[in-house]
């Protein structure tokens, strides 16, 4: 019996290395021009920036050319993604569509919708959000009760989604809606995925301000919102079959271990080039975790490229990765030289800003996109324990 999971080593092809240099040059020029500040570490939302990336062919990179894609490899896409995230570039306007919504439409969407939507995502023109959680259905995704009822030429939607990131900015949502009751044999039965245009009459979006004071997530209320038949994605009542591989893409990417990197980078800046042994050791330990996670995450990208579906391995990367990025600000805090009046302002202020921001966002990292508890359940199932 072999219970360990497989992380095949992935080697980046030469074209991916050239691509990395292109992305770095682009980001350096943008940072220089003041488009974004790498040390702020907030990612951020900029349709203009997303359109620039689209123009360079860095969105929808792996999709077929006939849908506006570029038919490049998962590993090339991986390189672009990690460079954008490591630089804390403003990618929120397109990242959900690029990572999740686009691939779902490509795989399960109707042809008319593919032709209409995918080229616009690839151009960086469309922002997507994901309608999963509801007031009474959080980690228990398949308990969703927001209902889509069949009507002439389409469906009528009623109910509420909550914790929906970017709903207030998004052009479209991919929503998981109840079309039938669950069955005794399969409690995951009866849910269907739909494309929802956010401007549809009967949809109201209300902000939920998070503890950083920022507006990211929302409540979305549906009141007899009409969705045309063409917006049905995949099979009615069978969304549970479609959701599984989507998660392999979602869970292993660099965004699952890189979000608080600015705290470590700015610590290295205040540490100077000859830190104390204690500080060097602290930095080294975190680098060892970071580098190992990066290797594992890249390995999953390589396995996806090879046509495998490493769903459990993805859960392992996300569990390790989010625990690392969540703990990082706290490790950094205790390693930093004590603040003092004699220190130069610039570096110290950048450090403080990065540490404050990453400390505040840390709690969400092991909740969003599947809680730690859900992930460990998936891993335990992979081990044959349940």
């Amino acid at each position: 019996m072999t219970t360990s999971f497989r992380f095949d080593p992935a080697e980046l092809p030469p074209e991916a290395r050239e691509l990395r240099q292109e992305v770095r040059a682009f980001l350096a020029a943008e940072a220089e021009a003041g488009t974004f500040s790498p040390h702020r570490g907030k990612g951020g939302f900029s349709r203009e920036f997303s359109r620039k990336l689209g123009a360079r062919g860095w969105i929808g990179m792996t999709w077929p050319k006939k849908y506006g894609g570029h038919e490049r490899s998962q590993l090339e896409r991986y390189v672009v993604t990690e460079e954008l995230l490591a630089a804390h570039a403003p990618t929120r306007a397109h990242s959900t569509a690029d990572r999740q919504s686009g691939p779902v439409i490509l795989r399960y969407g109707q042809e008319e919708i593919r032709q209409q939507i995918l080229p616009r995502i690839a151009a960086g023109e469309l922002c997507f959000c994901i309608g999963l959680s509801e007031p009474n259905s959080g980690s228990d995704v398949f308990a969703a009760s927001t209902r889509a009822t069949k009507t002439d030429g389409g469906w009528l939607v009623n109910g509420r989604k909550i914790w929906t990131s970017n709903a207030h900015e998004a052009d479209y949502m991919i929503a998981l809606l109840r079309t039938s009751p669950s069955t005794k044999e399969n409690r995951r039965h009866g849910l269907t995925q739909f494309l929802v245009e956010m401007k549809t009459p009967g949809i109201a979006t209300r902000p939920i301000i998070n503890l950083t004071g920022g507006h990211d997530f929302n409540e979305v209320v549906f009141d007899d919102a009409f969705l045309p038949d063409s917006h049905l994605i995949g099979e009615v009542d069978m969304a549970w079959k479609q959701a599984t591989d989507e998660l392999a893409y979602e869970r292993s990417g660099p965004d699952r271990w890189i979000e608080t990197l600015s705290a470590l980078t700015e610590l290295v800046r205040v540490a100077g080039d000859e830190p104390s042994e204690h500080l060097a050791e602290g930095i080294g330990r975190q680098i060892a975790h970071l580098a190992t996670l990066r290797r594992m995450s890249l390995s999953v990208a390589g396995m996806l490229q090879a046509g495998k579906t490493p769903a459990v391995e993805s859960a392992v990367v996300k569990d390790l990765g989010t625990n690392f990025e969540q703990a990082l600000p706290d490790k950094v805090r205790l390693l930093a030289p004590p603040p003092g009046d004699a220190q130069p302002d610039g570096n110290d202020d950048r450090f403080e800003e990065a540490l404050r921001y990453t400390t505040l966002i840390a709690p969400k990292l092991t909740i969003q996109g599947g809680t730690r508890e859900v992930l460990r359940g998936i891993i335990a199932r992979g081990l044959g324990l349940r």
Partner: protein
Amino acid sequence: MSDATDDIIVDTATRIFQDLCLPATINDAEKGVWPKALWDALEASGLTVAWVAEDLGGAGAAMADGFAVLRAAGRFAAPVPLAETLMAGWLLARAGIPAPGGPLTIAPVHADGDIALGGDGRLAGRARRVPFARNAAHIAVLVRRGDERAVALVAASGLPISHDQSLAGEPRDTVSFDGATPETVKPTDINLDMLQRLGAAVRSQQIAGALEKILEQSVQYALDRSQFGRPIAKFQAVQHNLATLAGEVAAAGAAADLAAEACAGTDFGIAEIAIAKVRAGEAAGNGAAIAHQVHGAMGFTYEHTLHHATRRLWSWREEFGNEAVWATRLGQLVAAEGADRLWPFVTQHT
């Protein structure tokens, strides 16, 4: 590591371990019984000279193949100096010295080691905690000759060896080289730091193997052991502990592979090896703790085999530089490059 040659070599090693490295073999070895059948089978298969070129009497296998065998040896807690013989063979071969038969080990194993070769052709100095010295036929010694480095092949018989052991019960002996005359001496481009790096990569790989074993044992135990009317595997707290263990196992494996790849290159990349020894070392401690928690009192007995792996994990994480030593070196490297090079450093070295 998945190509065909690897698979054949690892399959061969695994078969030998399955047949000849039994729990009793490991317990007997701790009592001082040399596992002759196991060693002879490994030697007959050519696995012990994997890192020696064919023209020097070795198998001429790739570095990666040797590391894959060491992962398997770690899984089985093989109580023989296979890792040490591979390293010694490599050190000798790099200096053009053919591999002698029989079990080998290396000295010194510490970063401040200092064995001198005098003008009279005699050695001076001692090495502490030399693995399996009492079992070795020869020791490959990295010596200082004036300002130069050389490799000396020294017969172990006749050397004063005082016995000590690791907390896994494996021999870690003090060897005095004072007055000894080597059989062969050749100059080398290898220094003590390179030897430390190779040792750290080797121990990382053995750690990864032993962690795979304790995951397997812990999962099986949780499925077999019933409490409160059901297998403890059905309790969420136990499931989550085992999921965490699986993560540590995966991380150690990925990190160890990184170091193995670095050793296939010429410069034994220090960053990659540091990353591996820090991460694998942390995983060793975290993983062993969870495995013991899952096994309860049973796993704390000598009778149960869990300690074959966990005691080795605790000993291997200390050897050739523990997490603190390598993390400090790694942190110094990153700091010297500066904050703006941190991310490029990570992408370059993974």
